[in-house]
C-alpha cells in the first residue's frame, strides 16, 4: 500500500488562452497536514477545485487513494470533505437538520448530536446557522464536511476573517481531524498558520510549484543561502498581548 493518499502528476488548467496551472506534481502522505501557499492568482484554489472534482482537469492526472479523480468523480466526492472559502448554509435550518442534510447527501444516516458535541455545539443543535458567531460557524462548517468520515479533508483559506482566538481554535480542530487519520490539505495566506500547522508546504507562483518541503527545511535552506534579517528578538508579540488581554484561546464562546 502506498504511503501517499493523494498524488498529483503534471496537473494543468487553462482558462481560455491563459494557463493558470502549469503542470504541477506533488504527493500528500497519509495523515499529513499539507499546505499550499502562494499569492492571489497563483493557482491554489484552481488546483484544489480540480482535485475536488469541481472543475474539469485539462491535463495530467490526480488520484486519491488510488482512485482517479477525473474518471470517478462521484466515488471521489464520497472520499473527500470540503470546507469552502466562505461556508454557506441555508438559513432557517437547525444545525441538527443541516448535519442530517449533509450526511443524507452522502447517503448516510448519522446522529447529529454526536457530531455537534465534537465541536462543542451540542447545546446549539436547535439553533439556526445565521445565529452562530463566526468561529462557531467555522467549527460547524468543518464538522459538516466530516459527517461521512472522509479520507482527505480540504480547507480553502479557513481562517481568513477570523479573530485570533477563533483562528487558534481552528488550528486545534485541524489537529483533531488529523488525529482521526484524515489527511488535510489546506491553502492559507498566513505564514504563522502554515508554520504551526503544516507538516509540509508547497509554495505556488504563477501556476507552478516553486518550493515543496517542511517549513523548517525551507527556512533552513533560506538561511543557508545567506539570508539575514535584522534581529529583534522579543519574548512576546502583539498577538500574545491580544490573546492575554482578551482571553485564552479555547473552545469557549
Amino acid at each position: 500500500m502506498s504511503k501517499y493518499i493523494l498524488t498529483v502528476e503534471n496537473l494543468r488548467k487553462k482558462y481560455g488562452d491563459k494557463e493558470v496551472v502549469k503542470g504541477i506534481s506533488f504527493a500528500v502522505k497519509k495523515g499529513e497536514i499539507f499546505g499550499i501557499l502562494g499569492p492571489n492568482g497563483a493557482g491554489k484554489t484552481t488546483t484544489l477545485e480540480m482535485i475536488e472534482t469541481l472543475r474539469p482537469i485539462d491535463g495530467g492526472r490526480a488520484s486519491i487513494d488510488g482512485v482517479d479523480v477525473a474518471k470517478n468523480p462521484y466515488e471521489i466526492r464520497g472520499m473527500i470533505g470540503v470546507q469552502p472559502q466562505t461556508p454557506g448554509f441555508q438559513d432557517k435550518t437547525k444545525l441538527s437538520e443541516l448535519i442530517q442534510l449533509f450526511s443524507a447527501a452522502y447517503g448516510e444516516r448519522v446522529d447529529p448530536k454526536t457530531f455537534l458535541d465534537e465541536v462543542n455545539l451540542g447545546d446549539r443543535a436547535d439553533s439556526y446557522v445565521e445565529n452562530l458567531s463566526g468561529g462557531q460557524k467555522q467549527r460547524f462548517s468543518i464538522v459538516a464536511a466530516l459527517v461521512h468520515n472522509p479520507k482527505v479533508f480540504f480547507l480553502d483559506e479557513p481562517t481568513t476573517g477570523l479573530d485570533p482566538q477563533a483562528r487558534r481554535n481552528l488550528w486545534e480542530l485541524v489537529e483533531e481531524v488529523r488525529k482521526r487519520g484524515i489527511s488535510v490539505i489546506m491553502t492559507t495566506h498566513y505564514m504563522d498558520e502554515a508554520e504551526v500547522l503544516c507538516d509540509r508546504i508547497a509554495i505556488m507562483d504563477d501556476g507552478n510549484i516553486i518550493a515543496l518541503d517542511t517549513p523548517q527545511k525551507l527556512i533552513k535552506d533560506l538561511l543557508s543561502r545567506g539570508f539575514t534579517k535584522k534581529q529583534h528578538v522579543e519574548q512576546a508579540n502583539l498577538e500574545d498581548v491580544f490573546i492575554d488581554l482578551t482571553g485564552k484561546a479555547g473552545l469557549k464562546e
Partner: protein, 406 residues
C-alpha cells in the same frame, strides 16, 4: 363536497402538518443506532426524502415564503373572484323624471326593485348623465317626459325614452326589452286583454360553466406559475450566491436527486396552496366541483412538476438574479396572458387559440377545469396530458443540460 367535509379536511391537514413539523426524521435513532443499513438504491431515495422534509420545514419557518405560497394566490382569488362573481347582467342607468304624475313615481319605485338595473339616484339632469355616459360609467339614461302618466281615453299612458351613446347600443337594447316587459305586465293589469302567446324563461338543470369557473382555474394556473417558476428563479441564484449549491456539489449528491427533492416539495406545497384556494372558492364563491378530487390532485401534481421544470431550468442556469429575471419574464408573461390565466382563451381569435393550445400552462388550466367543473376523468384528458408530457421531457432535458452548481 359539503362544508362539513371541508372542515374535517382542514382539521386533518393541520394534524399532518404538525406531525411533519415536530417529528424527527424516521430511522434516525438516538446515539447512532439505526434499524438496518440501507441498500445503495434506498440510500439514493433516502437522500431525496431528507432534502424534501428539511426543506418543507424550512418553508414553514419562512413567513415571506408562506405569504407568497398561500396568501398571495388567495388575494388574487378574492379580487378576480368578486369581479367575475357579480356576473349576472346589471345595467347602471339614470332616470330623469320630468313628470309629476303618481305613475312616474310608481315606475321609478318598480324599476329600482329590478335586480338587473342599478339606478344612479344622484343624476337628475341630462348634462351630468351625458357626461357619465361619455365616460362609460352609465350604460343608459331613461327619460320620463312631462306627459308620462297623463290620462288618455280614460287610461294612464306614457312614453319612456332610452338615451344611449354609440358605444352602448347593446346595453340600450337590453334596457328597452327589460322596460317593455315591465310595461307589458302593467298594461295587462290595466287592460284586460287575452294574451294568446307568451314566453317564460326557465333554467335547465344542465350544468354550464360560469365565468368564475374560468377565472378560478386560471388562478390555479397563476399559483402554479408562481410556485413553479418564480420560486426557483429567485431561490436558486440566492443559493448560488451563498455558496450553498457549491457546497452540495462537493458531495456525491446527483442533480436528479436534487431536482426530485425539489419536485416533491413543490408538488406538496403547490397542492396545499391549491387546496386552500379550492376551500375558499367553494365556501365563498360557491364553486361547484363535480370531478374526482384524487384525479384532480394527481393531474395538478403532474402539471406542477412540469411547470417546475421551467423554473429549475431558469434558476439552475442563471448565475445570479439579474440573469434569471429578464428571461423568466419573457417566458412567464406570454403564459400569463395567452394560457388563460387572467382571461379565458375562448375570448381570443381562433388562430391564437390554436397556437396557445400548445403552450405549457394551457393544458394544465384546461385540464383542471375539465376535471373540476366538468367532471371529466384523466382518461378523457389525452390531448392535455400529451402536450404536458412533451413539455415535461423537453424542459427537464434542458434543465439537466444547463444546470450549474455555482
Amino acid at each position: 363536497m359539503g362544508k362539513i367535509e371541508i372542515i374535517i379536511a382542514i382539521v386533518l391537514a393541520v394534524g399532518i402538518l404538525r406531525r411533519i413539523k415536530h417529528r424527527t426524521i424516521k430511522d434516525t435513532g438516538v446515539h447512532g443506532k439505526f434499524k438496518k443499513p440501507l441498500s445503495p438504491l434506498q440510500k439514493k431515495f433516502y437522500t431525496i426524502w431528507v432534502f424534501f422534509i428539511i426543506n418543507m420545514r424550512r418553508l414553514f419557518r419562512d413567513r415571506l415564503a408562506l405569504f407568497f405560497t398561500f396568501l398571495f394566490p388567495l388575494i388574487f382569488l378574492f379580487v378576480f373572484g368578486s369581479l367575475s362573481h357579480t356576473s349576472s347582467i346589471s345595467l347602471s342607468v339614470a332616470i330623469i323624471n320630468k313628470s309629476h304624475s303618481i305613475y312616474a313615481r310608481q315606475f321609478i319605485n318598480q324599476a329600482s326593485k329590478l335586480k338587473t338595473l342599478k339606478i344612479d339616484k344622484n343624476v337628475t339632469n341630462f348634462s351630468t348623465a351625458n357626461g357619465l355616459m361619455g365616460r362609460g360609467e352609465l350604460d343608459a339614461t331613461i327619460e320620463l317626459p312631462a306627459s308620462f302618466g297623463a290620462n288618455k281615453q280614460g287610461l294612464p299612458s306614457g312614453l319612456a325614452i332610452v338615451h344611449y351613446t354609440e358605444n352602448n347600443v347593446q346595453a340600450a337594447q337590453t334596457l328597452v326589452s327589460i322596460l317593455q316587459a315591465e310595461f307589458q305586465s302593467i298594461n295587462t293589469k290595466l287592460v284586460r286583454t287575452p294574451t294568446p302567446f307568451t314566453v317564460v324563461s326557465k333554467e335547465t338543470n344542465e350544468r354550464s360553466l360560469s365565468t368564475f369557473d374560468y377565472t378560478f382555474t386560471g388562478l390555479l394556473g397563476f399559483a402554479i406559475l408562481g410556485a413553479g417558476i418564480f420560486g426557483p428563479m429567485n431561490v436558486f441564484p440566492e443559493l448560488k450566491k451563498m455558496g450553498i449549491l457549491r457546497r452540495l456539489h462537493t458531495t456525491p449528491l446527483r442533480v436528479w436527486q436534487y431536482f426530485l427533492a425539489n419536485m416533491l416539495g413543490n408538488a406538496v406545497t403547490g397542492l396545499m396552496s391549491i387546496a386552500v384556494m379550492f376551500v375558499v372558492a367553494i365556501l365563498v364563491f360557491n364553486l361547484k366541483v363535480v370531478g374526482n378530487y384524487f384525479e384532480l390532485a394527481l393531474f395538478l401534481a403532474f402539471g406542477i412538476a412540469m411547470i417546475l421544470g421551467i423554473g429549475l431550468a431558469l434558476g439552475g442556469w442563471a448565475k445570479n438574479e439579474r440573469q434569471a429575471a429578464p428571461l423568466g419574464n419573457i417566458i412567464v408573461f406570454p403564459m400569463m396572458f395567452l394560457s388563460g390565466v387572467f382571461f379565458p382563451r375562448y375570448l381570443m381569435p381562433e388562430w391564437l387559440q390554436g397556437v396557445t393550445t400548445y403552450m405549457p400552462l394551457t393544458p394544465v388550466i384546461d385540464g383542471a377545469r375539465l376535471i373540476a367543473t366538468e367532471g371529466k376523468s384523466l382518461l378523457d384528458l389525452g390531448p392535455q396530458l400529451g402536450v404536458m408530457a412533451v413539455w415535461l421531457v423537453l424542459v427537464y432535458a434542458i434543465a439537466f443540460k444547463v444546470f450549474r452548481w455555482e
